[in-house]
């Protein structure tokens, strides 16, 4: 695809998506991160999320339901073996009694242990920071599940049917949050959980490009104190938490 036609496509796509919120002087491609279908994911972008636990409501599981719906995760009635790509963890500080609720999913580390341990290279990090499982080469050894400090990986324990066309899933492979990679590649510029949280009026989950200093997430990260979960491990997760 020539650069001219790519620009033409991007212009339309981004204008349609971002609409009137585009600030003047900002290059469209950096704002929405949209790519043409033939363009590779780029290392200039690093997708990430900021989760503000002060805005997250205890008891609200809209992000979880939205994720399950978007990715076709079904409840089999066997919670111990059912996959969970995102879950709400209720936490209480032992010393002070301070309570919070926070969604936890794959933290999309810059140095992911799951990628280090995967014998076949099925667990991998895409150029734009999204950590994924290539189900075509996953042999189902579950070493990544052992290695993930965030309990973010699930093993598919049974035969599946009626998968979503954009989210292939199957028995015997390991899986986890894809940061809604199909939506990202489509140029949606958001994830199902972030959308649902916004629709619920909380806006506790902010998705964006943390490499782009002008993105909304980068601005918020500059303003709010935030931290990485298990920062002691030095994995540089792409998901950050504020308020806890």
């Amino acid at each position: 695809m020539s650069s001219g036609s790519r620009r033409g496509f991007l212009g339309t796509a981004v204008a349609a998506l971002a609409g009137a919120t585009i600030a003047p002087g900002i290059r469209l491609i950096d704002l929405a991160g949209a790519r043409a279908p033939g363009e590779k994911a780029s290392a200039r972008v690093r997708w990430g999320m900021l989760i503000d636990t002060n805005r997250c409501a205890t008891g609200c599981t809209d992000c979880v339901s939205a994720c399950n719906k978007e990715n076709g995760l079904q409840d089999t009635g066997r919670p111990k073996t059912d996959a969970q790509w995102i879950r709400k963890i209720d936490i209480k500080e032992l010393k002070t009694g301070r309570q919070h609720s926070a969604p936890v999913m794959c933290q999309h580390c810059a140095d992911p242990p799951c990628v280090d341990v995967c014998p076949t290279g099925a667990s991998f990090k895409r150029a734009d920071g999204i950590v994924l499982v290539d189900r075509h080469t996953c042999i189902g050894c579950r070493y990544c599940v052992m290695a993930c400090p965030y309990k973010a990986r699930s093993f598919v324990h049974e035969n599946l049917s009626a998968q979503k066309p954009e989210v292939p899933r199957g028995k015997g492979c390991v899986e986890g949050c894809t940061l809604c990679v199909h939506k990202v590649d489509r140029g949606d510029g958001t994830t199902a959980c972030a959308e649902a949280c916004k629709a619920a009026g909380h806006e506790a989950i902010l998705f964006g490009d943390i490499n782009d200093p002008h993105s909304a997430i980068s601005k918020r990260l500059r303003e709010l104190p935030s931290r990485q979960l298990r920062a002691d491990l030095g994995l540089d997760p792409g998901v950050r938490y504020s308020g806890v």
Partner: protein, 122 residues
């Protein structure tokens, strides 16, 4: 001795021919006539190579060109009756059954186009 061998071979040949008849010929229904992404001969021989190439580009690099993607194939080749490429007369399954080649894609991938799978939503 020679005669016996001849009779034996004839019987064997007849048996094989009979066996071949019992395997249903693949049902190739092209419901959306027009050009595929490559020539028919090439697609018959090498569609799996194209798919594997595109699969790695899509999964690893995020390249999602519709034309050569598995979902592109399904969109075009799904049966009008069942909405699927699987089933006895499904475009993929009938041929794979005839050729005796394992069809692994649809353990994970949806066998119906996005529209049909979502029941018209979106």
């Amino acid at each position: 001795m020679l005669r016996f061998t001849g009779v034996f071979l004839l019987t064997l040949a007849a048996g094989l021919a009979f066996a071949a008849d019992r395997v249903a010929k693949p049902v190739v229904v092209i419901e959306k006539p027009g050009r595929c992404v490559e020539d028919t001969a090439l697609m018959r021989r090498d569609h799996m190579k194209l798919l594997v190439h595109q699969r790695d580009r899509t999964v690893r690099e995020g390249v999602r060109e519709k034309a050569r993607s598995l979902s592109g194939c399904i969109d075009c080749h799904a049966s009008a009756k069942t909405g699927s490429v699987l089933g006895a007369e499904g475009f993929c399954q009938s041929c794979h059954a005839y050729a005796g080649v394992q069809l692994d894609c649809f353990e994970c991938h949806a066998a119906k186009p996005a529209r049909a799978a979502l029941g018209g939503a979106r």
